[in-house]
Symmetry: C2
Subunit: 144 residues, 2 copies
């Protein structure tokens, strides 16, 4: 039985607020990985008074609760409501970011066979390259 957002907040001493709810909703419905400012802009359609500070503070809270994940790309943070293990494909020509479910990657962990005193809690694997649209654009430019 999965605990709801409300009780999940309460049991940690957090309160349920419209702002908090709206930020999480926005992130869950988003078709790409949003920045704090993008979330701010989006949520203002419903809560015109919300402030950017509130967005940042709540993203921290949601991250604490492991309801969202945070990662950095090109100098800024982006947030992801998909907390399942997965990887990212970053296009180096545009801002597109695609997801790869972990299941498509085969068993990587079994190959992490080093000796280290570091205690590893998680790892992150990012791929960089060119998305289909940019491959096409560049091919067109070659020709011209």
């Amino acid at each position: 039985m999965k605990k709801g957002f409300h009780s999940q907040l309460n049991s940690r001493g957090y309160r349920l607020t419209q702002q908090r709810q709206a930020i999480l909703n926005e992130l869950r419905q988003a078709d790409h990985h949003l920045t704090a400012r993008e979330i701010y802009t989006a949520v203002r359609r419903y809560l015109p008074q919300i402030s950017l500070g509130t967005v940042y503070r709540n993203l921290d809270v949601l991250e604490q609760l492991v309801l969202i994940k945070k990662f950095e790309h090109r100098g800024l943070f982006r947030y992801d409501a998909d907390i399942q293990d997965h990887y990212h494909l970053f296009c180096q020509y545009c801002d597109r970011i695609e997801d790869i479910p972990k299941s498509q990657l085969g068993d990587l962990e079994s190959h992490f066979n080093w000796e280290t005193d570091f205690q590893i809690s998680h790892y992150q694997l990012d791929f960089h390259g060119s998305c289909v649209a940019c491959q096409k654009n560049r091919a067109d430019q070659e020709r011209a």
Copy 2:
């Protein structure tokens, strides 16, 4: 035959300057992965007039020439003079970053067996966890 720094710059239309040289030297001698500001502070011991803008500009040039690598961590960029393929271990309690040579990781690529139209040029694998010092500190705090 490996081309020297000087001719490597010239053949691309870049010039060899003291600042450029000093920045690369500093990075090659560093015992950890420096930020632009750390490099700025270090190089100022020899070139007190150097400006932060020059450091940033030259780091970009050196990255273009693939003499250094750039990566982001906790919202800021760090630079690495080791351009061999390797991975990083980030301690989540302190700022320590350790390197893992790629050879210690076994053959990962053979397990990247997905279907994708993305054209992948490189990937980055980061590990997060606790360094030995922080493991000890935390154990001590438990006891207290």
